[in-house]
């Protein structure tokens, strides 16, 4: 009986060691990922780029399409998440202003009214 208990304890210690190594010391490095799995700061940077372009181009449908690569969430939610990160980071006021303008524009944007993109 003592041997079984010792064996099980050894297995548990081994599992703990394996998890520590596999998660902390040498975690899996992913390649060929999608933008939706980017770290939040990189996603926020991407959203800021979209906001910068929108500021110049004024094409809200294009901005929404560009944001769509970050996941299935509504575009305005994606921008809001970026705004939260931008406030915490913090981004420059002018950059936060750009994000804010994009979010406001997207709040009233109705994709159903957009002409289909060829």
């Amino acid at each position: 009986m003592r041997r079984w208990i010792g064996f099980i304890l050894a297995v548990l210690v081994g599992i703990a060691a394996g998890l520590f190594y596999g998660w902390m010391v040498n975690p899996v490095k992913y390649v060929d990922i999608t933008p939706a799995t980017l770290r939040v700061d990189y996603q926020s940077n991407y959203v800021l780029m979209v906001a910068e372009s929108y500021q110049a181009e004024g094409d809200l449908a294009l901005a929404a399409r560009r944001l769509a690569v970050l996941g299935d969430r509504p575009p305005v939610e994606i921008v809001r998440q970026a705004m939260i990160f931008a406030a915490q980071a913090p981004y420059a006021d002018s950059d936060q202003e750009l994000l804010s303008r994009l979010a406001i524009a997207l709040q009233t944007w109705n994709p159903a009214l957009e002409a289909p993109v060829p």
């Binding site: 060691a17 394996g18 998890l19 520590f20 899996v28 933008p35 799995t37």
Partner: protein
């Protein structure tokens, strides 16, 4: 009896546990799945990220910021990656504005242009130009994308290897930022009669740092055409490039950097006139300095 079996069972359990732990950590529930950097993006998403960087650069003109963003992708040669993507974008018929943005950023990075760059706001760019000629974009200035080469008559003293070459003065090409609306459609190639070589000139311009083959494509009215594919071949190699990727030099402009000692043949994609024996040749300045000259080829529909 028990003591004779020793403690190997502990080691067995430990190894078994480690294997189970690693299997779970690496295969079943790996960490960092939502904590990735742009360098890990799939190739097509990297292209999208790169295009977005270029679009933002065209919007705000902030080159250091664009460079920092591009560093995230960990491309070996950032400018080349941009230029290649611009070529692919044109070849696949994607957005011309996207290809131009990529081209602009590629050029800016290649030149180490200063940060000042008039951001593109809707309907703000007008390209004006005198007859096409060989010029290399000067660094952008604080007042706009001023890519001006002053018209000068240059002394052309061909080296022994270029005694039959003619020299023409450089002509100004200027990109102005104005309030004039940007045309929504850019002239592009349409089926018709083949292009013919209208002018082949060897140009000596000290402002060109590399020996170039410069191509300008025009329609029958003299309007420049973008997205025309040009094929350059040489012994053991071939390259394709498109007009319109350096819009500051004209929608119908494209260039290719020659390697000294290599002889090139140029032809527009889809057949047509073959232009052989294009190779770098030296020019001499008044001070005696020698530098590489460039070929300027102007094609037009008859």
């Amino acid at each position: 009896m028990r003591d004779e079996r020793g403690h190997w069972y502990l080691l067995t359990g430990l190894v078994l546990g480690v294997v189970l732990g690693l299997t779970y950590a690496w295969l079943i529930s790996p960490r960092e799945y939502t904590d990735n950097s742009p360098a890990s993006l799939r190739a097509n998403f990297k292209d999208q990220y790169r295009a977005m960087i270029a679009a933002a650069y065209v919007a705000n003109g902030n080159l250091p910021r664009a460079r920092d963003r591009l560093d995230l992708l960990k491309d070996e040669d950032v400018a080349r990656a941009l230029a290649e993507q611009a070529q692919r974008s044109l070849a696949e018929g994607d957005s011309l504005s996207e290809a131009q943005a990529l081209g602009l950023l590629s050029v800016a990075l290649g030149q180490g242009a200063p940060t000042a760059f008039s951001p593109v706001t809707p309907n703000t760019i007008l390209v004006t130009e005198s007859p096409p000629s060989a010029t290399l974009p000067a660094p952008a200035t604080a007042t706009g994308i001023s890519l001006v080469m002053t018209p000068t008559v240059q002394t052309h003293e061909p080296s022994a290897s270029s005694t039959t070459l003619n020299q023409t003065p450089a002509v100004t090409r200027t990109l102005l930022s104005t309030g004039t609306p940007l045309p929504t459609r850019t002239p592009t190639i349409t089926p018709g009669s083949p292009f013919l070589l209208q002018n082949q000139t060897f140009v000596c311009d000290q402002d060109l740092s590399d020996p170039l083959i410069q191509v300008v494509i025009q329609d029958s009215t003299g309007q420049e055409l973008s997205r025309v594919e040009v094929v350059v071949t040489w012994e053991g190699g071939e390259d394709h490039f498109f007009t319109g990727l350096k819009p500051e030099l004209g929608q119908g402009y494209a260039d290719f950097t020659m390697t000294p000692g290599v002889v090139y043949t140029l032809q527009l994609a889809g057949g047509g006139q073959v232009i052989p024996d294009l190779y770098p040749a030296e020019c001499a300045a008044e001070s005696g300095d020698r530098y590489w000259g460039s070929w300027l080829l102007v094609f037009a529909r008859p």
